[in-house]
Structures are given as structure tokens and as C-alpha cells.
Amino acid sequence: MNSSELQMAILQAQTRRHFLRSIGSGMGSLVFGASLAKYAVASEGHADESNLSFARDATTPLSVLPPQFPAKVRRVIYLHMAGAPSQLELYDYKPELKRLDGQDCPASFLAGKRFAFISGVPKLLGSQYPFKQVGQSGQWISDRLPHIAEHVDDICFIKSMRTDQFNHAPAQLLVQTGNPRLGYASFGSWVLYGLGTENQNLPGFIVLLSGGKSPDGGKQLWGSGFLPSVYQGVQCRSHGEPVLYLNNPPGVDRNLRRTMLDAIDDIDRQTHAEFGNPETVTRIAQYEMAFRMQMDATDAMDINKEPESVRARYGCKPSGADFANNCLVARRLAERGVRFIQLYHWGWDSHGADAKEALNLGFNDRCREVDQPTAALLADLKERGLLEDTLVVWGGEFGRTPMRENRNGQEMKYIGRDHNPGAFTTWLAGGGVKHGITYGQTDEMGYEIVQDPVDIRDLHASMLYMLGFDHHKLTYSFQGLEQKLTSVKPARVIGEILA
């Protein structure tokens, strides 16, 4: 560590938390300012002795580190349904709500609640689609997901998820970064930081969007926050070059590119020696990865290398940003050792304000878009033995109300539901988790949880456990706090769902 790095560390160390901590040890420590600085430097960015070390050579920040304890899960495929799909039309079977369909919502449901759009006294709204019991495990699932229904015995439904966020962007941030505000490290970044990635020729954390609208939470959803930016998710394009300008331009061959990169690396190293900004090292590593990716990324992302039968199974489109294509890419990336693969689908915000987001119209299209590809991904992973150590997660950012949305107190033309942070369903499948089970329970209206509530941080802690970490130990010192994915509130690993 050179002097400028030291100075930067000292400046960063003078936070409110350090100040409060130093008060605890008396004025004496203020007098001995030098010793305080030494302490701060020792802790910033590095775990202290009681924690695990994630220190790596600055030039190989993504190198593999073993998990804290033996893990059942080695990689994650996260299917985020942005907009919050209605659990009442998909997974949470509520016959009593169906019976009371069209009746005025009881006052007790409305007292002290905030809604995005519901006003006055809304009507209760039963599920728009029939449910059936399927599989050996006899779980209930709606007829909108006939393909996923074939895999319920591989799935662990958590029907008692809850969040304290009410709008899409913060709720998505909470699901993906453990915090509803900007600036925190995403789940994938934490995993990459903790475990590194086996395939150094591909990003360890890849994000694929399904076209349409980008998630409200924006690119922060796969950002690295306070973690070094080398751990952030890399959003790949679904057609053409997976990463823009990855290929060499005409007239530049690989050798020339290598020579050029060597020169740039030299300059970067000098810059780092002079200013000591760790981001410069990140930049060197990123250039090197891009060079290696030129060979492998295009191949990994090319679904046309798959036989026609496989593409047909997923329901792939010839090209373009499409959830089915992305699911197939996800399997190819999983095979190639990519640690965290995240797919966003969109358009699940079924308020019923227009046909596209109506439960009786557009919602059907959303179901069709994800049902077959999701099921094909599960089946394909299972056949290839990858489901054994891959965790697949399917869910949104909150739930939807058992009441029909009535903007401005008026009955709307299309059928929709408002936001409900109080209860929603997320499901897990694959290594580390019991399958063919349902955890948690909502009331007969599907409105509030009556058994085994699961906060987002509990889900995060459980997933980290499956990946081989105690969520208290996967930490990064920043602004005087041992930052962790589950933040400062106590989180519980849901032992009941662990395989």
C-alpha cells in the first residue's frame, strides 16, 4: 500500500460509525490519532480476523475461492419476473376468495393499509383461472402454467414471502441487493465476490433481459455497489455480439489486439502505482477478460449451436431478446461454469389499467412466454445432472391484492390487482432445497401470511447457506461497517426447506 492509498483509506475511514466507535473507547484514542488510522486501514476492504478472508491477487479478482463449508449449490439461475406476478392466479390456491368473488372487501382489509391505486371499498376478486392438484406431491397450480405444473415435484414453493417495499424499483432492489436503496451490492456480486468464478473466459455474473421494458430498478439490480466493480453483473445482448464491440474491428487481428492491450496495461499499471486507485486494477482485469471473452462468449451465447429439437423444447425464437432464448443460453452458461445467471422477464404488473397488463388478457401472454421455457430449463438441467448443484429461483418483487383494483374508486374495464407487499410466492428448485414441498401459508384470501413468514433477507440467508456461507461471514468492510447481503437486521436460514 503506497502513501496515496493510505491517505484515501484514512479519509474513507472517518465516517460516522468510526466516530461513534471511537467515542466508545474514550477521548484517548482521539489523541492517538495515528493508531486510529492504523486500525481503520487494517479493516477497510478486508475482513478482520474473526471473518473469512476474500483477499485475492489484484490481477485475478475473480479467482475461485472455496465456500465456507461444503455447499450443495455451485451456481444460481435467477428468473426474476419484474412487475410482480399475481400469486393468486398462479400458485396460491384460494377457493374461499373465489367464493366471495365480487363482494365488498371487508373494512379490516383496508384499515391502515396503503395501496398504489385502490381507493374506496374495492371488491374481492377470486382467481381468474382454475387450479388443479398435480404431481406426486399434490400441489395446487393454476392452469396457466401447464408446463411448469409437470415439474412441481422438483419445486419448493415459498408461499409466505413478504417485503416491506411497495413500489417496483425499491422492491426489486431489495430482492436483488438486500436493500431498497441504491448503492448496495447485488446478490450475484456477493456470490462472485465470495466464490469467484471457474470460467475466467466468461463473466461470472451474466444478466439477460427479455426485451420489452427494462426492470424499474435499473442496472443497479446487478450492480456491485460498494464491492469492487469487477464483481458487477454483465448484461449481455441476446442477439448479434453478446457484448457490444467485443469482436475485433476489420483489419485488427488477435495479435495486434494483444500488443495493444499490453501497452494499455502498462499505462494502467503506472497509473495505479501513482494514484493507487483499486479501480485501475479492475480495469486491467476487465480488459484481459474481454480479450479472453472474444473466444468464448460468442460461442456460449449462440443457441444456434444447439440441435433444433432442443430449441423447439424451449420454444426458442429464431433470434432476438426473448425469454425462451435466454433460458437456453442460461443452460449453456451454467454448463460453462458461470456462477450467477440472471434472467429478467417483464410485464407482470397486472393492474388491469390496459389490456396488456390485464389479468384476463396480457397476463395470459406473460404466462405463455415463461411457462414452456422455464419448464424446459428445469427438465434440461435435470437430464444433464446440472440441477443437482444449480439453484433455480423464480419470483417477483412483491405480491398482488386479493381485491380487484378500482382506480379512483371506479370499476375498471379490465381486471387487475394492486400491489401487495404482505404476501407473495417465490419458488426454488434444484440443489440444496427440498422438492415437492410448500413452505408457509397465507390466509384464506391470500392477503396476509398466517404461517412461517419469510423476509427477503431470510431467503438471501438461506440461499447463501446453500452456496456454503454463513451470511454473517460473507462480509466486506465499507464505511466502518461489516457490510453483508442481509444487512443489519437478523435474518434466519429456513432450515425447513434445506435438502
Partner: protein, 487 residues
């Protein structure tokens, strides 16, 4: 001479002429039924008049029996003279109403069972109306009066039924019963219509009381069976009570029928649970009693109750996980004699070999990342650590059966993956000593069903992935592998 013989029978020709619009509407209904789509605005505009117009034929048809019955009395005998005229009017009004109704249904976006029933009710009624009118004047046919009376009776019943269906379409299915007093509802077989009250998630009820009912009562008082009309599978149902009324008297445990029955002597006729079942435990009784005494609330938080017995076991008892502690000294000791070889391999083959965890001396080998760049000769380099490898992934590498002996030396291997490699049954034959093997993957290889009996002998094998091989769902699978083969 029948009682109902009309005094003034005239020509039937105009009546027969009126049959043609009726047949026309019948054809419209049959060939252009309502399809739920919205149609031309003009037709919709006209169709909307169905609602005001339809009350004319209803009133007129209902007037006919009044005239006929009242006309039987000497004093009002003149009334019967008007019945033919009223019937004629009613028939014409019914034709107009039926046509307007078709317009409305066809173009106003209507469909469904109710609409179909109402529509056929309406057109049948028009036909019946016309038939009454015919029979009314048909003096030459014997017994015409009896037929007339019968058809008129059917018409009156049909007008009520069709009208009710129409009301259901426009006013809602329960427009007549919606505000029926709760006391009357059971007599009509209608469910109680007050929405169920829900207990809150953190309430004493949900945490301590409901689990008792769920464990001991809901088989007879739950979603499948509701003995005495009582359900105990949620707070709402409990508080609604059974067919004999409320079972919980708020604040008064001794006065609550539920509490009385579970605390009776087990040989008492009213005792619950019935049928020589184990009575509720003293703790369970105490919990129920305390809860009723505290106001039988669905919102009272668990934390607000003091001196309560330990909770009843719920379906999923929480499982606390513990995080294994890593003792650096123990780890160093376990890795002694191994660490140097591992470090050497890690520098030669970066990122494909590492310890399974921070606290372990077991190794994970992910050769698949090198793909075709990893071959039999590369694998030889790993021979010194073979005994410590617990997970080995060779998918899509260039290894062949020549590597079999090196792989067989991995005595502690739990997971072996050979997907899309050139290995054959020969490699699997060599695995007979790998008695820790749990998962074996030969997806897309040349492995055949001949290997299956060999694998049966692996004691811990749980999954054998053999998709895209010569092994198919038709292959004969040894009994020991049943349920383990994944295709």
C-alpha cells in the same frame, strides 16, 4: 262445453300471420346466437330498449289468468271477453321484446349460460303466448279449453323463471337474495354471506390456538367434512359457528359450547372429539380457555399473553441450522501432505481444482471448464491427489477409457460427470471400488444398458444420468437402480 271456451272466436288468419316474425326470431337466435362480442352501435341502441319494453308482455301475460279467473264469477263475466284481446297484445309485445332482446344480446357483448337460458325462455314464452291465443279462439277442437288452461299455466311459470334470469343478467346473480336476512338464508340453502374475519399472523390465536384445531378437529370440522356445519380450520369459520349457532362466547370460556364439549367427561354424549379419540391435553385446554377468556381475539398478539403453556407443535417445526466453524489449525493438519501437490496443480491448472470448502481437505475438480483442452494425459497429473477428490466433472472434455484407472483411484468420489465425452462401459466397469459414489453422469456418451448391472452394486448411488445414450426408457433396469435412472 268447456269452462274456458272463448265467447268471441274470430278468424285465425291474422294469428297465423303473426307466427312468421316468431319463426324469424327463432332463426336469428339459432343461427346468430350471442357471441360475447360487441356489435353495431345502432343495434345496441335499439337493443337497450329490451329492458323497458320487456315489462309490457310480462304484465299482459300475467293479466290473462287474472281475467280468466275473475271472469268465472258472474259479476265479472265480461272480463273474459277481453282475454283474447290481451293475449293478442301480449303476443305482439312478446315478439317485439324478443327481437330487441336478441339485438341486445347479439351486439351488446353478452354470452354465457344465463344469457342462453334467458333467451330461450323468452322465445319459448313468445311461442306459448301465441299458442294460448290460438287455443283461446279454437272453439272447434274438443278439449281446446283444457289445453288452453294448461299452456297458460306453463306460460305464467315460464314468465317468472325467464324474468328472474333476466334480472340476474342485469342486476347480478344474487340480486334477489343478496340482502336476505342471515336467519332466512339457510332455509334457501344459501351460504352465510358475511366475509370471514381473518386472524393476524402474529396473533396468539394463529400461533397457539389454531394449531390445536388443525391437529385435533379439522378432519371432521374442516374443508372436507363440516359436521354440524362447523369448520375449525380458520378463525373466521370458528367465529361463524355451526348450525346450532356460535360455539365461542367471547370472554366466557365456561359459557362457550366448544369449550364445554372438549372439557366434558369423555363418556358424555356431547364430548368432543367424538369416537374414543384422545381428549385434548390439559395444556391445549388451558390455551383454548385462556384465549376465549381474553376475548377470543384474532388480533391479540402472542406477546400480550402471559403465563401460557408451551406451544403446540405446528406442521413445520422450525429447524435451526448451525454454521460449521472453521478451525484453521485443524484444516492445516488435514491438508498436510496434500497442500503442496494441490498448490502445484492450481498453478498449472488455474481455477479447476480447489478444496470443497474452507474447512475441508476434500477436493473438487472441474475439468469441464477446459473442455477439449483437457485429456487423459492431463488427468494423470491429478493422480497424486486422486484419493481426496470428491467431485469430478469431466463433461465435454477429451478424456477416454484410458483414463479409467486414474478415475478408479478416486476412492472417495461422490459425484462423477462424464457427459458428452468418449467414455464407454469400460470406464464404468472400473468404478466398482468407488463405493462413495452418489451421482454418476454419462449424458450423451456411448454407455449402453450393459453397464446397468455393474452400477447396481454401487451402494450409495442415488442418481444415474443417462440421457441421450443407448439406454432408453425401454431398457431393462435392474431392481437396484429403480428410481435412480434419469433419462
Amino acid at each position: 262445453m268447456t269452462l274456458w271456451r272463448s265467447p268471441g272466436a274470430g278468424s285465425n288468419r291474422p294469428k297465423l300471420v303473426l307466427l312468421s316474425p316468431i319463426l324469424l326470431i327463432l332463426a336469428l337466435i339459432a343461427f346468430f346466437p350471442p357471441d360475447g362480442k360487441e356489435g353495431a352501435q345502432l343495434a345496441q341502441f335499439i337493443g337497450r330498449f329490451h329492458l323497458p319494453v320487456v315489462h309490457f308482455p310480462i304484465a299482459l301475460i300475467l293479466l290473462v289468468p287474472v281475467l280468466e279467473v275473475a271472469g268465472r264469477f258472474e259479476r265479472f263475466s265480461y272480463l273474459r271477453l277481453s282475454s283474447g284481446f290481451v293475449l293478442g297484445l301480449a303476443t305482439m309485445a312478446a315478439i317485439v321484446a324478443a327481437f330487441l332482446g336478441w339485438c341486445l344480446a347479439r351486439t351488446g357483448g353478452y354470452s354465457g349460460t344465463l344469457v342462453t337460458q334467458h333467451m330461450w325462455g323468452g322465445i319459448t314464452l313468445t311461442v306459448i303466448c301465441w299458442l294460448c291465443w290460438m287455443l283461446h279462439g279454437w272453439t272447434t277442437v274438443p278439449n281446446a279449453g283444457k289445453y288452453y288452461a294448461a299452456v297458460l299455466t306453463v306460460g305464467v311459470l315460464l314468465v317468472s323463471w325467464t324474468g328472474y334470469r333476466g334480472g340476474q343478467i342485469s342486476q347480478g346473480e344474487d340480486h334477489l337474495t343478496e340482502y336476505m336476512p342471515s336467519a332466512l338464508r339457510p332455509a334457501f340453502g344459501l351460504p352465510d354471506n358475511t366475509p370471514l374475519v381473518q386472524a393476524t399472523a402474529d396473533s396468539f390465536y394463529v400461533a397457539r390456538v389454531q394449531p390445536i384445531f388443525t391437529e385435533r378437529c379439522v378432519t371432521c370440522h374442516g374443508p372436507t367434512k363440516q359436521k354440524s356445519g362447523l369448520r375449525l380450520d380458520s378463525y373466521g369459520w370458528l367465529m361463524r359457528g355451526g348450525k346450532h349457532g356460535a360455539v365461542v362466547a367471547v370472554g366466557n370460556a365456561q359459557g362457550s359450547d366448544l369449550f364445554r364439549r372438549v372439557t366434558l367427561s369423555p363418556d358424555h354424549d356431547d364430548f368432543m372429539p367424538k369416537g374414543k379419540k384422545q381428549p385434548l391435553s390439559p395444556d391445549q385446554l388451558k390455551l383454548i380457555g385462556l384465549w376465549i377468556g381474553a376475548g377470543a381475539s384474532g388480533t391479540l398478539p402472542l406477546s400480550a399473553m402471559k403465563d401460557i403453556p408451551a406451544g403446540n407443535s405446528i406442521a413445520t417445526a422450525p429447524i435451526q441450522v448451525s454454521f460449521p466453524e472453521v478451525d484453521p489449525a485443524a484444516v492445516a493438519k488435514a491438508r498436510e501432505g496434500l497442500a503442496a501437490a494441490v498448490a502445484k496443480l492450481q498453478s498449472e491448472y488455474p481455477n479447476i481444482l480447489d478444496y470443497e470448502s474452507r474447512g475441508s481437505a476434500d477436493l473438487v475438480l472441474s475439468a469441464s471448464l477446459l473442455g477439449p483442452r483437457f485429456g487423459d494425459s492431463d488427468l494423470l497429473a491429478f493422480a497424486p491427489v486422486a484419493d481426496h477428490i470428491t467431485v469430478a466433472d469431466f463433461s465435454r472434455t477429451a478424456i477416454t477409457d484410458h483414463a479409467a484407472s486414474t478415475i478408479a483411484a478416486m476412492k472417495h468420489v461422490r459425484v462423477l460427470r462424464f457427459g458428452q465425452t468418449k467414455i464407454t462401459d469400460a470406464t464404468l466397469k472400473a468404478l466398482n471400488g468407488c463405493d462413495q459414489l452418489q451421482s454418476l453422469n454419462v449424458y450423451g456418451t456411448g454407455v449402453t444398458a450393459a453397464a446397468l448391472p455393474l452400477l447396481e452394486k454401487l451402494p450409495k448411488l442415488e442418481h444415474f444420468y443417462a440421457g441421450q445414450t443407448a439406454i432408453s426408457s425401454g431398457s431393462s433396469v435392474p431392481r437396484g437402480l429403480a428410481g435412480k435412472l434419469v433419462l
